[in-house]
């Protein structure tokens, strides 16, 4: 059969090991969907696929075992999901009956967030949808995940951009009863940023990571969060892969949502300028490796308004390991 593979893959279909058989990746921005869409997924899987769904690591669904000849029909069937979950949140999707317009920029995943979780600092689904609206559809390979707090249940540390919620604690000494719940907890479970002075608590701003545990533990609400705005930590350029798997590192702390959106948008311009076009695709992290962090930083922060509380990384030395350095290993067989 004849198939324009590049166009086919952009339509979110996979070239599988079985010739003539494909699989469709369905995006679920923010990993949250109305249960009604499951009926449609079931119908497509049972009518056109092999009756199975695979739940992807990025919180989407992959409908497997679809004959390539059925793709046009499947696109029509999946249209309500694209309309509801993409066009419905403001993504410029084109004609939903044509299927997904791009696949390079991956589904923005999110932990359950403060719709449900006590630790989360914000509505992660809404932020994921806002990011999706800004970056999709796009062919550049960028992975983003947002987590409600620094427990990072969504593994934002494994992404090109990881967003973690922060709390800026505000202390009312009058309300404090010196019970020690915050101080003990911060010592044992966070960073030891709190200590008693004259029976009241002093917060070391340099040590505080904004996890908000003091607010959660306080039995008198002596600790509350600065409610004038939401604060975030932005991690950058984590990845898996064959060359240099590594965790993302903090780029900005106590930054606002608007600034994060601006920076992510500018990163697409940066990729456009510096990508190695001799390769079929290049992940943004490798581009940053090539240009250096400073070039990336200057590019994406240019013209971005940062709030006064925001702290910016001077340098980033990513950890992780180089897969081509393996002298630690000894072969078992002779």
């Amino acid at each position: 059969m004849s198939l324009n593979v590049k166009e086919f893959k952009k339509n979110a279909y996979r070239i599988t090991k079985d010739r003539g058989v494909t699989a469709l990746r369905v995006r679920v921005p923010g990993g949250h969907l109305e249960a009604k869409y499951l009926t449609i997924l079931q119908e497509i899987a049972e009518t056109y696929g092999d009756g199975n769904l695979h739940i992807t690591t990025r919180q989407g669904f992959e409908i497997t075992g679809i004959p390539m000849t059925m793709v046009e029909e499947v696109n029509k069937k999946v249209a309500p999901l694209i309309e509801g979950m993409e066009a419905g949140i403001g993504v410029d999707i084109g004609n939903p009956e044509d299927g997904y317009p791009a696949a390079g920029t991956r589904n923005v995943s999110a932990c359950i967030g403060n719709k449900v979780c006590r630790y989360a600092k914000y509505n992660t689904t809404k932020l994921a949808q806002r990011i999706e609206k800004n970056i999709f559809p796009n062919d550049y390979h960028v992975k983003i995940a947002v987590s409600g707090c620094q427990n990072d249940c969504i593994k934002a540390h494994m992404q090109d951009f990881g967003v973690l919620g922060m709390d800026l604690p505000v202390y009312d000494a009058y309300r404090c009863i010196s019970c020690g719940a915050c101080v003990k907890n911060c010592q044992k479970r966070a960073t030891g940023a709190l200590e008693f002075k004259n029976y009241k608590v002093v917060r070391d701003e340099d040590k505080c990571i904004g996890c908000g545990e003091c607010i959660a533990k306080c039995p008198t609400n002596a600790w509350t969060r600065d409610a004038s705005k939401k604060y975030y930590k932005l991690l950058i350029m984590g990845r898996t892969g064959k060359r240099n798997p590594r965790l993302a590192m903090p780029f900005l702390e106590w930054v606002t949502e608007d600034a994060i959106i601006d920076i992510i948008n500018k990163t697409y311009d940066y990729v456009d300028e510096y990508i190695d076009r001799s390769l079929p695709k290049e992940h943004v992290g490798y581009i940053v490796d090539r240009t250096g962090f400073q070039v990336f930083k200057d590019y994406v922060l240019d013209g971005v308004e940062l709030n006064p509380e925001c702290r910016v990384a001077e340098h980033i030395d990513w950890p992780g390991y180089k897969t081509n350095v393996s002298n630690n290993f000894k072969k078992v067989g002779k």
């Binding site: 404090c176 009863i177 020690g180 306080c218 039995p219």
Partner: protein
């Protein structure tokens, strides 16, 4: 005498009252709750009807008005001391009947418990007048009817707010002047007569020292985490500790404060030398439960607990005080059967 006031005119009345009184009422602090994007409802200064949240139970009780969380008692300088200034401002508190009854309990502890009145309490308490908010529906965790605290006659103003109007019964003659221009009406206060949950408090004679070692308390050793929220939200918990704050370079100069304490919190029973006589959380639960519904009644003829249900509302481990009383009743029944 009762009056009906248009909502739009009520702020004028509040302004007039504020010439003589600081007004405290339940008020909603947006996004200041423990969890993100949740509000904190608590007592604070208000100056308009709009700021008063008539429909929510506050997380904390109004006891702060007479029993501040942190209160400087005096300043010391070598051999001299200066008592902390009493600002002398009169106070009006908007509150519910159970909370007026909670003030009665605080009065017992601070003014009638032993030969000395607590002057720091007394000088604040003397200046407080009550504006009781009609409460006929209650909330899920309330059990005021069981505790006999659903009604009160001790108020200056009784108030009921509807969409258009505010109905007020004025008992305090000093306040009638403010309402002089308003239309009189035949409004009479109503009180809640049935809560969603009920509990029967055991008779004094049924509580014996045999219950001290009852198995029921052991469950709380496993469930309670000793956070003290039940103490801090309670309208009748009145324990405090002393804190002397002094200059780092001269410890003879400084101030003495009293600060809330709670029997569930570590350190409450810790004595010099490290002896600590209620180390398990079950022991603390027993102490609190029996203080609220036994010891206090033995001394003052009324139960300390007013059935507001706040301890149940805030417990992160879903421990219910009504549940504890019910377990105690069961233990008494078993004790009787065995005995």
């Amino acid at each position: 005498m009762s009056y009906r006031v248009k909502r739009s005119e009520f702020d004028d009345i509040l302004s007039k009252l504020q010439e003589d009184y600081k007004i405290y009422a339940p008020t909603r602090k947006k996004d200041k709750g423990t969890f993100s994007d949740t509000d904190l409802v608590l007592y604070d200064r208000v100056s308009s009807l709009e700021e008063i949240d008539f429909n929510s139970k506050t997380k904390y009780s109004p006891k702060e008005v007479v029993f501040p969380i942190t209160q400087t008692l005096f300043y010391f300088n070598g051999d001299e001391y200066i008592e902390a200034e009493d600002k002398g401002e009169k106070v009006l508190v908007f509150l519910r009947p159970c909370e007026v009854n909670a003030f009665k309990r605080l009065d017992k502890i601070f003014l009638e418990n032993g030969p000395q009145e607590d002057i720091y309490y007394k000088r604040l308490r003397e200046k407080v007048k009550f504006v009781v908010m009609e409460c006929t529906e209650g909330f899920d965790s309330c059990f005021c009817v069981s505790m006999g605290t659903n009604e009160t006659e001790d108020y200056s103003i009784f108030i009921k707010v509807s969409d258009e109007e505010v109905f007020c019964e004025i008992k305090d003659e000093k306040l009638t002047e403010v309402f002089a221009d308003q239309e009189s009406t035949d409004y009479t206060p109503e009180f809640i007569q049935e809560n969603k949950q009920q509990v029967e408090v055991p008779a004094l004679e049924d509580i014996t020292t045999d219950l001290f070692d009852s198995e029921i308390w052991k469950e709380y050793s496993k469930r309670c985490i000793g956070c003290g929220r039940c103490n801090t939200v309670c309208p009748t918990c009145s324990c405090w500790t002393m804190q002397d704050i002094s200059y780092q370079d001269n410890e003879n100069i400084g101030e003495r404060r009293r600060v809330w304490a709670g029997c569930h919190i570590d350190g409450y029973t810790e004595m010099a030398g490290g002896h600590d006589f209620r180390t398990t959380y079950g022991d603390r639960m027993r102490f609190k439960t029996l203080h609220k519904i036994y010891d206090f009644r033995k001394r003052f003829d009324i139960d300390m607990c007013v059935g507001c249900g706040r301890c149940e509302d805030v417990c992160p481990q879903y421990i219910s005080f009504v549940g504890a009383i019910k377990k105690l009743n069961q233990a008494i029944k078993e004790e009787k059967n065995n005995g």
